[in-house]
Symmetry: C2
Subunit: 480 residues, 2 copies
């Protein structure tokens, strides 16, 4: 990319991948770390993560979850205890072999995920039915050495995430937990990030190794690739048996517990960038924007500067009192036009301009980022109208994203159409016989896999591939 | 420790170390991880960390700091770039040598601290005076393989902390930052954790390798050992030169920047346990207690249970409306006495008892944890008096801790008294000539080092060791 130009130099349509990288770097969300495949979050990038984290954390706590801390180092012997699970991660594990000059006996894995470590602890902590349910969430990072090309937020060798690990007395309660969490994820992504998702189950082939089944939320990006946005797994007793997570029930009978695990990562930020961004750069939904409103004072001589700056201060005060995240760009020597471009590139959802004529009329101008539009707003109406203006932006962004998802979903029962649609870069909603063989043949043929079997899937009646009776419809797509 | 008894089985005075470990484990703050030297935080332990984090985070943000994220992996070549710094950490570094089956060329260190990584990024981000000051904080963990005996919260091979890294245009501004942060630390520890600290500078021998000078806050624990509670370092240009953290000033002259770094860790939780705990277990200051008030309904027959439970619900509602963290212990089959013991062991600062006679009189009883006392409280006064009751607990705990610090500080100019006082387990406030030689001889002789040269230190006039004129008084002590 060109380091010289402060703006985005390619269009989203022409070179999506380069566009994405430029937005991430130039909007100062993240930067490359010295180790390949790793990134650093700059304050704006981290602030978005903090906003997502706060929203989820509140919802987790409101539903009876608490947070804990697990170390990043897991002994190989422990990681290998559930063998399917271990096999799934083993090519990606970073291994610590030395501390100082000394070789470590049982080498240590950097956590690719914490099921094994958490459940080795849970087996000590849980004695009786009184200790259940145990619902703990961990805000940490996971480390998986990426061999494929990496991409900030989407595929990195270390990523910020949360992983929830819960234990229940009954299968029914555990399955309820799996569903409750997926619903929390869905609401958060739709309401905060303004991205519509399709929720449902993964096929057996695509589920988390070690889970009985995996529920997922999926969306499609403007380049036609599917993105898994978060998963909630029903683990059944797959881990409680090897890890002896068991309890004495009310009749004093020793019983293996039922478990779940679930997580979302900073990949959500990547999705938000891709879905909402445009050729000028980032477009942030107001709910998660580190700066929701930028105020630009406009003046061209000394005379005006004092009263314009006073008016800008007044606007700032009004907005801060409402608890909004506002920034007044008071930099000298930079033109208003330069400032507009910069804040547009950084995705600030709303700009308020205060010029001498506005001050005369006791009003301001505002411009929205997601759609090019400018409107007047009387000074005395700012306080009462600003929430509505921001909510309207949030809603319109969500509506536009819903249209994208609808436009990029093809429903068909013809395999030729299926192939064309995949080639064009859409989801395909089609009948499936339920057999892994068809799933694998489709994958070989089109590079598409089953992204999700929606909870509200229909059933077209025939498998799009083998033409035998279908058990359900599924959403197929090519993934990142 | 005895796993059978739910209570603490040794006294704080007789076996401080075993007492401490039992409190940590039995109050369910933390547990040992499968890897030696690592611990897991259980929800109550993590909630205390969350409370400290929230308080500090607000203060950092209010003073213009923002948060970021740095990966845990640092290439050896980068870590070695500032050689004094590297030499200080090298025996403690965990090394990642493999990812999957593949050996890694430039082996990767698990972050012992992030100066090198952060400043390699900062040198890219900072171009001109407009980019300064840059003030970023990172909430993460640090990893240092401990060879000495480990202890939960006090000495572990991975620990939760925050590390702030700031860059300034002038030395004066950077030194102001160092002082501002130490003041934030001091206020937080005194107001939230109710632990008095002595602030000042480290001697040259004890400063952070790579710093020009280190400021610190220190306290003394009931066993007479000193504990470093947090440090704020003035780095001068020690890192900005090798890492090329420089900027164009207003005259377009390239200038090396001035830097600071600072951190506190979950060691603060360890200090809080040691300072306030007693033979019954944990004693939590109300400000950080995950549960501030436990309500225990008391009844011995069906008849009373309904009205007692109703009253307990009412108390809960009143306290929740005030935003307090309250828990009603509704467990059947457990006696009130059993519940009292359990919540006392877990350190809940205030217990409210609701029995049938209380209900008759439209009142409750309350018992404080830090001092054994029981009082009546009219139901209609709870809302108006509860804040004061909690604040009084907080204040009394702080006063008691101040008394401990005063009792455990000996001022002397005689070396024989100095040795006795150190042997007895106190701080010693004594004159020092400023020479490293005396500092080292005292250390050899008594195992005590200079913990801090207080900002408000006096000057006794003579060095306690060599009897030459002293440049200042210093606080000596044996450390963890």
């Amino acid at each position: 990319m060109s380091k010289e130009s402060p703006g985005i130099t390619v269009s989203k349509k022409d070179d999506f991948s380069e566009w994405y990288t430029q937005v991430v770097l130039k909007a100062e969300l993240a930067d490359y770390a010295p180790v390949k495949g790793l990134i650093v979050l700059r304050p704006d990038g981290y602030a978005i993560w903090e906003s997502i984290r706060e929203t989820l954390d509140k919802k987790f706590k409101a539903t009876g979850h608490r947070n804990g801390f697990l170390p990043v180092l897991i002994p190989e012997s422990l990681l290998a205890k559930e063998s399917d699970h271990f096999a799934g991660f083993t090519p990606e594990v970073f291994w610590v072999t030395h501390s100082g000059e000394n070789e470590i006996g049982d080498k240590l894995a950097l956590r690719p995920t914490s099921e094994t470590l958490a459940y080795s602890m849970y087996s000590k902590w849980i004695q009786s039915w009184r200790d259940l349910p145990l619902k703990i969430n961990f805000w940490n990072t996971a480390l998986r050495a990426e061999i494929k090309a990496t991409k900030p937020f989407l595929r990195t060798s270390e990523f910020l995430w949360q992983e929830g690990h819960t234990v229940h007395a009954t299968q029914q309660e555990a399955e309820g937990e799996v569903a409750e969490i997926l619903e929390i994820y869905k609401k958060t992504v739709q309401e905060e990030l303004a991205i519509p998702v399709i929720t449902g189950k993964k096929s057996d082939k695509e589920k988390f190794v070690g889970a009985v089944y995996t529920t997922t939320m999926e969306s499609i990006m403007p380049d036609g690739k599917a993105l898994q946005m978060g998963t909630s797994h029903f683990l059944g007793q797959n881990f409680s048996k090897p890890f002896e997570v068991k309890y004495l029930d009310k009749n004093n009978t020793e019983t293996f517990a039922w478990q779940t695990s679930w997580g979302v990562s900073w990949r959500l930020i990547g999705a938000m960038i891709m879905v909402h961004g445009d050729d000028k750069g980032l477009v942030l939904p107001p709910r998660v924007a580190p700066i929701q409103i930028v105020v630009v004072p406009i003046y061209y001589n000394e005379q005006d500067s004092a009263r314009v700056n006073d008016a800008a201060d007044k606007v700032e005060k009004i907005l801060k009192e409402k608890g909004l995240r506002v920034h007044v760009d008071r930099r000298d020597q930079l033109t208003p036009g330069f400032k507009y471009n910069e804040w547009e590139m950084r995705g600030v959802p709303l700009r308020i301009e205060v010029g001498p004529k506005d001050v005369d009329k006791n009003k301001v101008m505002y411009a929205t980022r997601h759609i090019k539009q400018k409107k007047d707003l009387a000074m005395e109406s700012i306080s009462s109208e600003i929430d509505e203006i921001l909510q309207k932006i949030q809603d319109e962004m969500f509506e536009a994203a819903k249209k994208l998802l609808a436009d990029k979903t093809t429903k068909t029962s013809e395999y030729s159409e299926f192939r064309e649609a995949i080639e064009k870069g859409t989801f395909v909603d089609a009948g499936w016989c339920g057999k892994r063989e068809c799933e694998e043949k489709i994958k070989e043929d089109t590079m598409a896999d089953i992204r999700v079997i929606p909870f509200d899937s229909g059933n077209s009646g025939k498998c799009v591939y083998c033409k035998n009776p279908s058990v359900t419809n599924a959403i197929f797509g090519r993934a990142y």
